[in-house]
């Protein structure tokens, strides 16, 4: 179905090729997973398949590409559009018409498809993606997952033979991502559609893939093979695979179910954690940094918070978890004064904040919202930091130190818009933390980050905590919470459902638990590091 032979491509104004001598074969009906660090050429590879590279982006392409017997380089993206369906990362950025049904018709209109056939295909696609209930909706009223499903539907109306998706779930929360990935799996299994998917949430998708290609970047040869073969050779893998590789489990398990079979044969020695040693206990007696008492809030009649009580002490690292709409973001926004309590009180360092402006609160509280791009506006990262310092009337802070600890020092003079999503996330963090706030609030800090970027972020946050900062994050990412947080607070329907030390909460939960914990069902092992340490001793 897809064949690439010695493809080399470099973007215009760039000396080194992004893709170097790449050869690849994909059979009909195959599900190919493309992985690799950001900047390794994943997106470029995908765009080669429908001619966006080189037609849209310019540059020089050498080698031969054939998709369903056609040549994307000769036909260009428009010619290929009936063969290759292409979906991009940002669910917001691909709508032309604002009603779902007419958006679905857009591609067919371009191909001059008859009205009767359009009607028929739209009905089919609405059913295939289970979005028939959305047909009359305006696209801006849809959730992220729904938007992405509509985007997939809008390319399927041309009945392409290949569906190419560039990180379609990276901007989505886990539930929405699950929806999208399940649909893909269904399309692949039921219709035999060939799927090429770039994705960094390996743990969610790797079991569906028939084959996998890893682009290491930096001119190294790509690794191609079955998921098991590839996963044994690459660095950035889910915790399950990390542990399985270390324990030499064969064949490599890709799901918890497969991994559970190996667990009985494993003998691990580790001291049982005692609840008393949790960091939380050590801080009794000092006044809490954050105290939220009986907090209520509603957005136009819809109650988002219903009597939340929470106290966070100095030096604690607390993870707020819970499904979408459970009030995590609403709570964080209250802490920094972007929202005002409907009832109840928010105190910071023992002081009621109801009469403080956000700008005043921001002097001591650093809040990084979900979309880091909204913070950045200056021409260079350096100027960005200077701007925060000026806003806070701070002088003499050391931007270089902070940038170095965030692995950003080489970007000090780069336009923030040119950074990758992980770097941008850290740039936003830098822009907030340069003011040295005592309390750090992060909303979904790991959304869209790959394993490496997550690791950099996690170790940075741990270091901040050691320096005595108090940190509160809202996250869906159980692995991050398990690695960093002392305490987990689970919200549900605007109320605190569970509040306790990370280890206790996670080992007692099935949903808010890590892969490793699900694998061993043992509260001594939450992260791959826990297991690896136990093996070492």
């Amino acid at each position: 179905m897809i064949e690439l032979q010695d493809v080399t491509y470099s973007y215009p104004e760039s000396e080194s090729p992004v893709v170097h001598n790449l050869s690849l074969k994909v059979r009909e009906g195959e599900f190919l997973l493309v992985v690799g660090a950001s900047g390794s050429g994943k997106s470029t590879l995908l765009r080669c398949l429908n001619g966006l590279v080189p037609h849209f982006h310019g540059g020089v392409l050498r080698g031969r590409i054939a998709v369903a017997g056609r040549d994307p380089v000769a036909e260009g993206p428009r010619g290929m559009s009936s063969v290759v369906g292409f979906v991009i990362q940002d669910p917001e950025g691909q709508f032309v018409v604002d009603s779902v049904e007419e958006e679905l018709a857009f591609a067919m209109e371009n191909h001059n498809v008859e009205q009767a056939i359009m009607r028929k295909r739209i009905e089919e696609v609405l059913d295939q993606l289970s979005i028939a209930h959305l047909r009359q909706r305006r696209v801006h009223t849809l959730s992220g997952g729904e938007k992405q499903r509509v985007a997939i539907a809008s390319v399927l109306t041309l009945q392409p033979k290949v569906l190419v998706l560039d990180e379609p779930t990276s901007q989505l929360d886990p539930q929405a991502a699950e929806e999208v990935l399940t649909i893909l799996q269904k399309l692949n299994a039921d219709l035999g559609l060939t799927i090429v998917l770039a994705e960094h949430r390996l743990e969610r998708v790797v079991q569906y893939a028939d084959s996998m290609i890893c682009l290491p970047g930096g001119g190294d040869a790509p690794i191609v093979g079955t998921p098991e073969e590839v996963l044994t050779q690459i660095d950035l893998v889910p915790p399950l695979v990390q542990v399985a590789r270390r324990l030499k489990w064969q064949p490599l398990p890709l799901t918890i179910k497969a991994g559970r079979r190996f667990v009985p044969g494993v003998e691990l020695q580790a001291p049982a954690p005692t609840p008393g040693t949790s960091r939380t206990m050590r801080h009794h007696g000092t006044p809490p940094v954050v105290r939220v008492s009986d907090l209520w809030f509603s957005y136009n009649g819809c109650e988002a918070l219903r009597g939340v009580d929470l106290a966070v002490r100095k030096g604690e690292f607390v993870a707020l978890m819970g499904r979408n709409g459970s009030g995590k973001t609403t709570l964080l926004r209250h802490l920094v004064g972007l929202l005002r309590p409907g009832r109840g009180m928010v105190e910071l360092w023992g002081e009621d904040t109801s009469h403080r402006s956000t700008e005043e609160i921001a002097q001591r509280v650093g809040y990084v919202p979900q979309n880091p791009g909204s913070l950045l506006f200056a021409d260079t990262l350096q100027q960005e930091l200077q701007y925060t310092l000026r806003s806070h009337d701070l002088r003499g802070a050391k931007p270089e130190l902070l940038l170095r600890s965030l692995n950003l020092e080489q970007y000090a003079n780069v336009y923030p818009g040119d950074l990758s999503s992980g770097e941008r996330q850290r740039a936003a963090l830098a822009a907030i933390l340069i003011a040295e706030p005592d309390l750090i609030l992060l909303d979904e800090p790991t959304r869209g980050l790959d394993y490496r970027q997550k690791e950099i972020l996690a170790s940075f946050l741990s270091k901040q905590r050691e320096e005595g900062k108090t940190i509160l994050i809202s996250t869906h990412d159980v692995e991050l919470a398990a690695r960093c947080a002392d305490r987990v607070v689970i919200l549900g329907e605007g109320q605190v459902v569970v509040d306790g030390p990370t280890r206790t909460v996670m080992s007692e939960s099935m949903v808010f638990s890590t892969q490793i914990n699900k694998l061993f069902r043992d509260n001594r092992f939450l992260t791959a590091d826990d297991v690896l340490e136990a093996i070492a001793t």
Binding site: P12, F56, G58, D379, Y415
Partner: protein, 262 residues
């Protein structure tokens, strides 16, 4: 060769549309020698209707002229999103009802060329009207004048040489257009309010014209002079303060994505 001819043709069409458009917009003030003879048998009540139709035709011609060329998808997407940005800027309340809707058409016309400037200006008001449900008889006037301003900004000489001072002439130009916009926008209902029903008063050359102008001046001062001064000043400030960074952004974007206009 052919493309140069095409551009010349397009420029001619635009010039003719501009002349007719301006004539239509200013016709209440242009003393028409022949009209006297026909006296009251050409009731002035028909003129606003004719104006509106002629103005709509001018716009149709300009759009049709642009449509003869195939726009690439980047151009269509960038235009669409800038139009949306501009329409959103209208929702941002400024001091004294000031809106920044001329800012982008002027700068984009200057940086990206006449076609771009025209469409950005004209469509911004259309989109804003569609979104807020505010279609009205003033729409052709708004679309024509803003579109024309975007187009005219492309005719400014390229001022790169001035370096940091580049924005100063642009800002003055913006202030001028801000005033002009107000003058034109009053004209959509001036034929109603300004019409006294006595044709000698309204159309007669000589003293009649002066009185018409005087009445328009009085009308202008009482209705919109202060808004227009505010708008002109706002444009001046906006371009002085943000002209440079926004132009930098537009040009950087054009380089980065090899984005082709005009």
């Amino acid at each position: 060769m052919t493309s140069r001819l095409g551009q010349a043709l397009s420029a001619t069409t635009l010039a003719a549309a501009t002349v007719l458009g301006i004539w239509v917009v200013l016709s209440p003030f242009i003393s028409v020698p022949g009209t006297m003879a026909s006296s009251t048998s050409t009731p002035r009540a028909q003129s606003p209707f004719t104006f509106l139709v002629l103005l709509a035709l001018c716009m149709l011609v300009i759009v049709a002229n642009l449509e003869t060329r195939r726009m690439d998808s980047k151009l269509v997407a960038v235009l669409g999103i800038l139009v949306a940005t501009n329409a959103v800027l209208r929702l941002v309340p400024g001091p004294a009802g000031f809106t920044a809707m001329l800012f982008l058409p002027i700068l984009c016309g200057y940086a990206y060329g006449a076609d771009f400037g025209f469409l950005l200006g004209a469509l911004s008001f259309l989109v804003s009207a569609i979104v807020t449900g505010g279609l009205g008889p003033w729409l052709p006037y708004q679309m024509f004048s803003t579109g024309w301003m975007g187009m005219a900004s492309a005719c400014l000489p390229k001022l790169h040489r001035l370096g940091r001072l580049e924005v100063v002439p642009l800002a003055l130009w913006g202030a001028l257009l801000g005033l002009a916009f107000g003058v034109i926008m009053n004209l959509w209902f001036w034929p109603y309010v300004g019409d006294t029903g006595q044709s000698d008063m309204y159309w007669q050359p000589g003293t009649g014209t002066w009185e018409t102008l005087g009445r328009y001046a009085a009308f202008y001062v009482t209705t919109s002079l202060w808004w227009d001064i505010g708008r002109a000043g706002g444009n001046l400030l906006l371009i002085l303060l943000f002209g440079a960074p926004v132009l930098r952004l537009l040009r950087r974007f054009q380089r980065r994505f090899r984005f082709v206009t005009g």
